[in-house]
Symmetry: C2
Subunit: 309 residues, 2 copies
């Protein structure tokens, strides 16, 4: 790297972390967490998911959380939605970025959201239409997360051509962008490079700018490094890897924000995030969630002598 390059960290802990644990964090605590990370310099936070409270009661207050988070003027408020109903609620709540996951494994899609690929594509088209009805000055960024893109726990290997083709089909519907999601933590750097460059070659370079990687088999930061190498500049991560991997006790789920920022800042990338302050925030959030497992190494080891960030 010859010059400083900016990387956007999209903190997903309040969504992906909290939805993976049974504890329901009160709205006020979620807003504290969001404010603390904002104070550290985090500028995009996935604050919740507009999903049925019967399925995920932890996310029932997502509209209120969106509303509360809007007091931070330059914070991008991201949310996840499973369907049109969620998308409409997200628009109503004033979310800036709305993502809908589309599982590359059709078996996984049917099992998780009871929809075939054809049905999901129709649902996505309805979401696109809903988003387009918003005045352009307030219109949220709408993207599709290509989940299980690196492999599926039910189908096993997912053909790379299939992922690239699905990206094309989704973009043809009018979605702004797709994201690559290693939902199952099966990915490796070579695969990430093939998938991303394949999507760029087919759909253009603006089609994909971010990745959502898990650390299920310890490969998270190696995959991030390759994503950076090829020019990806938006990386999802979770404070303390909160939530772990429900399918794999002892393994973390999301990559850990603190360790990710260590990597980026040490290499000379600019995240705009004060890591020393973020390590304090981790402790504060830990105090709000007693008994949960926290992941990551930088928090245990501390920052090295001479660390400048």
């Amino acid at each position: 790297m010859n010059s400083k390059s900016k990387v956007l960290i999209s903190e997903v802990g309040p969504r992906d972390g909290l939805q993976s644990i049974s504890t329901i964090m009160p709205t006020a605590d979620k807003l504290k967490w969001i404010e603390w990370e904002y104070q550290c310099g985090v500028r995009e936070i996935e604050v919740g998911s507009f999903v049925s409270p019967k399925v995920l009661p932890q996310m029932a207050d997502t509209a209120e959380v969106c509303k509360g988070a809007r007091r931070h003027p330059d914070l991008t408020i991201a949310v996840l939605v499973p369907n049109l109903k969620g998308c409409e609620a997200a628009i109503e709540a004033g979310a800036h970025k709305i993502s809908i996951p589309l599982s590359m494994s059709e078996t996984h899609s049917i099992k998780n959201v009871r929809k075939t690929h054809a049905e999901m594509l129709e649902e996505i088209a309805r979401c696109v239409a809903a988003v387009e009805q918003v005045a352009s000055s307030a219109r949220p960024h709408f993207e599709v997360g290509l989940s299980t893109a690196f492999g599926c726990t039910i189908e096993g290997k997912v053909p790379e051509d299939k992922v690239i083709e699905m990206a094309q089909r989704v973009l043809d519907i009018g979605v702004a962008e797709v994201g690559l999601s290693d939902t199952t933590g099966m990915g490796n750097p070579a695969q990430l490079e093939r998938l991303a460059t394949g999507i760029w070659a087919r759909c253009g370079e603006g089609a994909l700018t971010g990745v959502h990687l898990h650390n299920t088999r310890g490969q998270g930061l190696a995959n991030v490094l390759r994503a950076l190498d090829i020019g990806i500049r938006t990386i999802d991560s979770s404070l303390g890897g909160l939530g772990g991997c429900p399918a794999a006790p002892g393994a973390s789920g999301n990559i850990v924000t603190e360790d990710l920022i260590f990597l980026l800042e040490a290499m000379g990338y600019e995240t705009g995030i004060d890591l020393t302050a973020l390590l304090r925030t981790r402790k504060q959030v830990e105090d709000l969630l007693p008994g949960e497992a926290w992941y990551g190494f930088t928090a245990s080891a501390g920052l090295p002598l001479g660390w400048a960030n």
Copy 2:
């Protein structure tokens, strides 16, 4: 990567792992561990350290372990030595590969082995002379590990020019090769690339072929990926990250062999190691060391559906 490329895993658990825990593993158990990993396809193992038994009683039987390990005909038996006395003992025991650590931080060197850089270079020269007295057909490979090359817990940042200069001085003495050691887990991929390419530019490409990385801040496999990218093909690692990081409770020390092999095999590198069998070996060694902390994610998550190795 266009074609399969072989990578040598140098398993350091019986040395770096066992010297970092207080339990003293019986010689017969060390030999079982070595045999199990050998059966999995591991072909280089650092079996111990020829250091004073007063300092590290865990390593007191290193000569016996070397002798026992020699029954595996194509196994490279590596050992660590702190000085000439240790080097002579290693030669006597028939070790194939002898490494001596030289701390790039002189403060660290004085504190740990009570020797200045000038004194260490003299000691290394005496080791070179001892190795050269061995008949060429049986002569061990002698190398210097450039420890604290990525930073020091006492001095902080270690100038990269200093590391490159020390590599040159060591090679001038007649050492076969140097290795880059991230003893303190402070390294990042950009720094690794600068150090390695700097040493190659100054000393030739044969001067450095291996790295010894720690995972203290979770950066281990990202650093490995960059090492692979630039052509390094010998990687040290420890089964289950055994030993952790004595200076950082909760953080692992060495990178974890199982997670490393996942990375390599998934990317298409050839390690010659059966990962399924190695995960069984991990359990067997865990049983020999009750109560110790084990690290790594692949062992918890299991191999993905469709994994071929």
